[in-house]
């Protein structure tokens, strides 16, 4: 059974279409939810939590409908909001214990789980100090702890690395990864940074302006493509023309010539053409797909010829 399933999920805010007919079905794992600011990531997460109602369509989490069974969903879901959500005048221990009890844990269990979870996210002596004095990194850890404290089946993280420095970012991503792999909790990570998603996720959902761009395991985005990149220091256009003259499909991309790998003979064509023209060759490499491409492709195929698409 898919963990998250949506059928025609649509959310309009007045005339703004935050999400438009989203159909998807996701298996457990670490799921990256990527899109620019305003693409509809937070709206999607809030719809899954059942704190906002869809305009039309429906969504299920672990087989539970987000509208009719939101109460049951809340028992199995942990949510880390994008914005600050911590009162400054209490300690982390007191706050997380309180949240555990609101989630339905009895008094003793709430205290024990709080101690464990705060240790997991890496908060030690400072847990009794007031949250107001914490650094951004520590606050993000407390936010993660309150989402984890009731041992959810699904963790929804909205921009967990917001405002963190590179070290804090790596630590947070490592925590997210551990949560997904070691703790066996399905994690949905929303982010506008593809690099982060690439680092931790097993599955990728890309949305743009309320539409689903793609939904697939992350490996399919980064595998080799049947394109050979030939980088030369000068006269890339001449090389492309020469290769085209030999029957290869070649396009220019900056100082690179991208050649379609239609046959094994392509390597020979390239070698001969470069040697004939005496060009300074920098590298010959089979292109890997990049995650960014999923955001570029629709635009590229629509209007701009690939050769003119810049980095």
């Amino acid at each position: 059974m898919p963990l998250i399933e949506t059928v025609g999920l649509t959310k309009h805010y007045g005339p703004v279409k935050a999400l438009d007919h989203l159909d998807l079905s996701v298996e457990p794992g670490i799921i990256g939810l990527v899109g620019a600011n305003g693409a509809g990531k937070s709206t999607f997460i809030k719809l899954l939590l059942g704190i906002i109602a869809p305009t039309s369509g429906r969504a299920t989490v672990a087989g539970l409908d987000t509208v009719t069974q939101s109460q049951a969903i809340r028992q199995i879901v942990g949510y880390m909001p994008e914005h600050d959500c911590l009162p400054p005048d209490v300690g982390a221990t007191e706050f997380v214990t309180h949240m555990a009890r609101i989630s339905g844990l009895p008094r003793t269990a709430a205290r024990e789980r709080t101690a464990e979870v705060l240790r997991h996210v890496g908060l030690y002596e400072e847990r009794y100090r007031q949250i107001g004095g914490y650094s951004t990194g520590m606050k993000q850890r407390v936010k993660l702890a309150q989402a984890l404290v009731h041992d959810p089946k699904v963790l929804l993280l909205d921009e967990p690395t917001n405002g963190l420095d590179p070290v804090g970012r790596d630590e947070m991503l490592d925590l997210v990864k551990r949560t997904g792999t070691d703790f066996g909790i399905t994690v949905v990570v929303a982010s506008h940074l593809l690099g982060e998603i690439e680092q931790v996720c097993t599955y990728l959902l890309a949305i743009d302006a309320g539409h689903l761009l793609s939904a697939a395991p992350i490996s399919t985005f980064t595998q080799h493509t049947p394109v050979l990149a030939v980088e030369v220091d000068e006269d890339a256009n001449g090389l492309a023309a020469a290769l085209a003259g030999r029957g290869a499909r070649a396009t220019v991309d900056g100082s690179c010539v991208l050649v379609a790998l239609d046959s094994d003979g392509i390597y020979d064509f390239v070698r001969d053409a470069v040697a004939d023209m005496a060009l300074p060759l920098v590298r010959i490499q089979q292109e890997r797909r990049r995650l960014e491409d999923i955001f570029r492709e629709p635009a590229a195929t629509a209007a701009v010829p690939p050769a003119e698409v810049q980095q």
Binding site: K46, L49, I51, Q71, R74, Q75, V77, Y79, P81, H83, D84, C85, L86, P87, P88, D89, V90, E94, H98, M99, R101, I102, S103, G104, L105, P106, A109, R113, E116, R119, H120, Q130, Q146, H150, D151, D182, F183, G184
Partner: protein, 311 residues
């Protein structure tokens, strides 16, 4: 630990004996009632500043003390001058039935100071999404907040009543007989305090819930109460000075927050309404109905507000 007595630290890295890894929680998960109770308890602690810095304790303690001060002075007198009182002197600064009417300003200040603390904090620091994605519903949230402030006000209101009761008993030589005669006189202060507590709590929370800023909430409460006290009085005096008497303008006094609570408490003591405080010809019973209606209306406003507020 080990049967051969070798030290544990010799074989395991420091700290790892406590690290049991992430453990899933499979204990009981309680529902909405427990969540509401937990929020109630936490809010009650917050109102009195327990688990918060010293500065958070000052305002509630001082205001509760000021409200009780006359009763405490009377208690002190009655114990110091117990001898003379038993010979026939009477020291009576205050009675159960008129205590609130005389000292209400301190209870009102308690509301102004602590009602914003109860509800504005969660909006100011965006804690609401964390609550509403858990077992807690919006109605339960509003109910827990209302109950916590009403409980606090009830405590504030009852301290002087208890002091008066103890003082009255100390004034008598036969303690047991005194309890028998004083208790029925003191008893109406319990339902009267419950009503006043809920009346003030509902108004001040309903006003506070519309702003995340404590200062605005405090100003809002003061403005609402003072205006609603002044406007009916103004209408009444204008009507009275114009041709042919008040002519039913006194029914606007039913809209007053403080006066109607004073009138309603008089009903519990079966006391006559002092014409100095109560203009017009309204009865205590009418004030009682007005006060009960105001509790219901403002409780609905509070619930309505939290049904609408975005999480």
């Amino acid at each position: 630990m080990t049967s051969n007595g070798s030290p544990v630290t010799a074989t395991s890295p420091a700290g790892s004996i406590y690290d049991l890894g992430y453990r899933h929680y499979d204990g009981p998960r309680r529902g909405r009632v427990w969540a509401m109770w937990s929020l109630y308890a936490e809010s009650l602690r917050g109102i009195w500043g327990f688990g918060r810095p010293m500065s958070a304790k000052l305002a509630p303690m001082i205001l509760a003390g000021l409200y009780a001060i006359v009763a405490v002075i009377q208690l002190a007198f009655s114990s110091v001058f117990a001898q003379r009182i038993s010979e026939g002197d009477k020291i009576t600064l205050a009675t159960y039935s008129d205590y609130f009417a005389a000292m209400w300003i301190f209870v009102f200040f308690f509301c102004v100071a602590q009602a914003p603390e109860v509800v504005c904090r969660d909006q100011r620091y965006s804690v609401l999404p964390l609550y509403f994605t858990r077992a807690l519903g919006r109605v339960e949230y509003a109910a827990a907040k209302l109950l916590s402030l009403a409980t606090s006000l009830f405590i504030v209101l009852m301290i002087p009543n208890v002091a008066l009761f103890v003082g009255d008993i100390l004034m008598k030589t036969d303690t047991f007989a005194a309890i028998g005669t004083e208790f029925p006189k003191a008893l109406p202060s319990v339902p009267a305090s419950v009503l006043v507590a809920f009346g003030l709590a509902a108004i001040s929370l309903a006003v506070s819930s519309f702003t995340p800023r404590r200062a605005y909430a405090a100003i809002g409460i003061v403005a609402y109460v003072l205006l609603m006290e002044a406007i009916p009085a103004a209408i009444y005096s204008i009507q009275q000075s114009s041709a042919g008497g008040a002519g039913g303008a006194d029914r606007f006094f039913l809209l007053t927050p403080i006066t109607s609570l004073e009138g309603a408490s008089a009903w519990f003591f079966n006391a006559k309404l002092d014409p100095q405080n109560f203009q017009g010809s309204l009865t205590a019973q009418q004030y009682l109905v007005a006060a009960l209606a105001s509790v219901v209306v403002f409780a609905f406003v509070l619930v309505f507000r939290y049904r609408r507020v975005s999480a």
